[in-house]
């Protein structure tokens, strides 16, 4: 006896709708926590709003290898039934063919022209990661899909200059993550403890990595005034 496709229309209970969105978010988070290798992308929902996610991305390959990017993902209240993919906004103005230089919003329209409930956020994030690490893929996309044409052109024409520019941005991006922000559930780091020592930096990052790996086990966040842990 298959599910009647229209049955959901009859559900008018507001609580239930919220609940369904919440459970979907839990599901997405659990998928993300298992889909990504350690040391790449970590996600934690904002303390006050489960639809706003804080993320951090340690780039491990590609021209921006070693950069660290903080970003936010905004889901719509009717998630997963929103029509367009979630908005991913970077906190650091890194130059990338698919990232708007003005708004720093990542354009995923090539992979996700639309969004529906069968899509999962981990594949959205995987696409983001793929795009960040594969410039060749990005610059060869149809021209209308490329948002930052300048950097795409530079990558194609002058590898030397591009590499210098990339290096500069990598350093800047790492510095950026020390700036604290308001949200309690955000990835931030204490500069004083790091200083200039490369070794400490590395060990702290390693440490961070393990902490972040264990996060999904322990972190709790606010769901409609409910405290619950992910597992």
């Amino acid at each position: 006896m298959p599910i009647d496709a229209n049955s959901s229309d009859e559900i008018i209970d507001e609580v239930l709708c919220t609940t369904k969105t919440e459970y979907r978010i839990l599901l997405e988070l659990k998928l993300i926590s298992t889909e990504f290798n350690t040391g790449s992308i970590y996600i934690i929902p904002s303390k006050s709003n489960s639809l706003l996610w804080n993320g951090i991305y340690f780039i491990r390959s590609g021209p921006y290898k070693d950069a660290i990017l903080r970003f936010k993902i905004q889901l719509e209240t009717n998630y997963p039934n929103q029509k367009t993919p979630p908005e991913l906004k970077l906190e650091f103005p890194i130059e990338h063919p698919l990232i708007s230089p003005d708004t720093q919003i990542f354009d995923s329209s090539h992979a996700f022209p639309t969004w529906n409930e069968s899509e999962h956020l981990y594949s959205f994030l995987k696409y983001f990661k793929y795009a960040m690490e594969n410039f060749d893929f990005c610059v060869n996309l149809p021209i209308e899909k490329i948002i930052n044409i300048e950097i795409a052109e530079l990558y194609k024409k002058d590898q030397k200059e591009f590499k210098e520019k990339a290096k500069e941005m990598i350093v800047k991006s790492v510095n950026q993550i020390f700036i604290p922000t308001g949200d309690e559930n955000i990835f931030s780091y204490d500069r004083n403890s790091i200083e200039e020592d490369e070794e400490i930096h590395q060990s702290i990052l390693e440490n961070m990595k393990t902490v972040a790996d264990n996060l999904p086990e322990s972190f709790s966040f606010l769901f409609d005034n409910r405290n619950r842990s992910l597992h």
């Binding site: 006896m1 599910i3 009859e10 609940t19 069968s118 409609d224």
Partner: protein, 945 residues
Amino acid sequence: MSWLRSSPLRQSFSRRTQDISNTGTDSKAVSDSFCKHWQQVSDIINRSENRQTQHDDVLAVVNHLDHMTTLLLVELHNCNKIALPNGQHPPAPCLEFMLSENLLDSLYEWSLSTGRYSNAVRLEQLKLYELLVSHSRHQLLVHEPFLRPLLKLLASCQNEIFPHDVGKRLVILLNQLCVVLMQNVHLLDLFFCSTQQHGLQMNGANQTNFIIFSLLIPYVHSDGSIGHQARDALLLCMSLSQKNSNIGTYIANHSSMSPVLVTGLCGLYSSLPNSIEVHSIDWFRITADDVNDMPELTLFMNSLEFCNAVVQVAHLLIRDQLLDFLYQGFLVPVLGPAVLQTNVESQIASMAYLDLILRSVTEPGLLKIMIKFLLDNEKFDGERILDVLIERINSPDSRLCMVTLTLFDTILGLHNEQLMTELILKYLIGARHIPIAQKHKINKIQAYAKTVDYLLDLAPEVMKNSNMILAEHKSLDYQQSSSASLPTHTNIVSRTIGANWNHYGLHNTGESLYSNYHAYLYDAHQKIKRTKYSCDQWTDNYFYKSPHKQRQNAKMPNEQLVQIVRNFLSEFNLDTITTTLMSDEPSNINNISNSSKQLDMDSLQSIGESSGYESMKYRPDEDEEHQINSGNDSGNQISTNINSNITIVKNIEPWRISRFKDSQLFDLEITEDIFTQGTVSLGPFLTSIWSKLQTFTSNSLYVNLHLTGLISHIALYPLPLVHSILLRPDIPTTSDIPSFYQVLKILKQQIDAELPMTEDSLELIDIGRTFLIDREFKLINARKIALEALKASNASQLSTSQTNTQTSQLQTYDPFKRQDDKRKSSSNSIMSIFRRTSTTTASSNSNNNNAGVIGANQAQTSGFAQIYGLLAAGIASLRDHQPNSLELQTSSINDSTGLGANSYINERHRDLAIAAIILDEFLKELSSISQEMSIVLLNENFKNI
């Protein structure tokens, strides 16, 4: 030892010593006085050699001994205060005098001649020894002048029947000795094999003897504190048996421990009432309070608890022996026939006892023989107890039905793999109840999230409307009150966040849990967590495993293989291919994979998948992997190739690849199951439950509460195979009985037809709801009152029979067990009250161990505060202060709901309204379980990959 703290002896001792030590007595004066007293005793003893002991003599000796005891205490007290640096003990002249002069031995020898006063003298000696053993830091036991008379005294106690006070003192002394031995295991041998070493005549027995143990055995079944202390001491001996295997061998081979325990247990079970007087229509189980209230049951439970404890601490030899005796001597000849009786009253009683036993037993070894008992199909004329119990689910007697459902709830609460296999899993493994083309869905956890819509849609129409009206009212109320109360409200939230959230995620007391979906989710969350924790210890996770994987090495004859492929393909109406296939020689089998390339991708997908989003799980590397896995097996090759074709056609973008591979798209079920479609049994247990569910609208409210509770309990197991019939309406089943959803759908239709959406119906629902919510609050209040009454009666020590009856009747309902589907509707305060109650009960009966165990067990197996199910009669009696008039109140709906007052309302409609509400809540409960499950089980299948 807790008993010591409350012992009057200890109290008087500390009082006395305090007085004396404060005066700064010097030790010389003490020892002089001591010697003087002894001199006088000695005179009397010497005198008695020539004449009959007189009353006055004994009195004088006792008196002197009393003084000597006091003086010894003073000395010991002073000694214990001083610590010499070299670890030596400070001088204790009295003690030394006593030992050097062999006072104790003289005393013992004299005591033999005291004739009818011997018990009084013995009592005095026992006191003296007990005092010395417990309060001296000196290792007196190694001193011959101390040990020898002690052993003589103990030996003389054998085979004697003492008045209560002597027996009690003896047990206390033995208990003390056990405590000392626990701390000094090397002293054990002094009490062991003592016969020859000390040349004592013990009933002419020359065998090994552990005298402490054999003296304790007669007291094992005793009532009251003496029994507790004896059992306490015996348990210490049992623990000793783990440190010293001589003890273990002795107890197992030479003592009558196990037979005594088991025969005692049998005797006590036999004395239990053969029928339980049930005063209320919703009674369903024996609670800890009932145990305390029924002396026979208290004794039995004490004994059982003791067996449980022995199994826990004793030497392996003793443990195995006791378990064997219990099985052969109690379970098979006593409990089994009791359960199998034909009289309904006796059945109810014996099932309630069985339920109580199952809830109280905590030791794995004991639990194991209980399970063996349930599953034994040899000892009871080929009948299996479990099967007999299953039959009773459909008993026409609603009390028997409720007790049975409760018993199964207890059984499910054990989270035992073997029992679950016997009840449910063995009928579902292999998923023969699911069409081949659907089997791949079983482990797809994400689909659980969709169950919610389907289940909630099955709610009766009248409930949907009623809920809508209710929601509108609520939101209106909220808008009106929100402006005024908002600030305080947020305050509360911020203060309590993360701290005071109870089981139901609520912090607002005094609120009904009726229809509170969040509470259902919380409840599901907690229970699933607990259940999963237990099930993680199982040998298997019982996810669906295709025979394809299980039988990789099985070689299939080609002819059969062709037949199977033919069946498989014909199921999808792939006529052309089937034709091709049929004309093919078996040796051309590889052509099949080529032909399958012609398959229209869309049609294949629509067969395999109900929704598109699972498609991202196809992996390009599945191809390679399957080639390796199934290289030897041509049968598997086919399915592999079919799979890989699909994989190849679908060009997967790298970001859509999951790290976890999903079970393959199709399983070629190389099994005869294909031919048995439609006749697959889900097993007697589920069949019985389904058939009880089919009569939902005519079952009593309380039966329905337990029934729906049991079904939810089954759903709480993290087993996708079980969920395939409970939480997966997207998976059709081909069992020989209507599917769960078909049953639910019929119920909905039935209620919709008989209770159409009219004003009258809505009003009925309203009345029913009010009844249930009233019941919830009555329970809270009743529980509060009961607790206060209990407290008051405890405090004033005025346990008048009336209070006792009242509280016990009130507590006859088990707050933790399902009495109503709307248990979620209990407010958090109820929950905590109930929780507290169980612990209070346990601790207030700290010397009544079984109550504690039951309490703990309840708290463990049941997170559910079953509110509504409280004995309405119990409340009524409390309110009316007429504890003995329960029978008058039994028809709770009629009497306490006000439903009966509306005489114009048809009774059937009233029952239907209640049934509709229960069904509505049940669906909410199930859908919350499915939502929680969708998170908990996600990727669980791949955890170990």
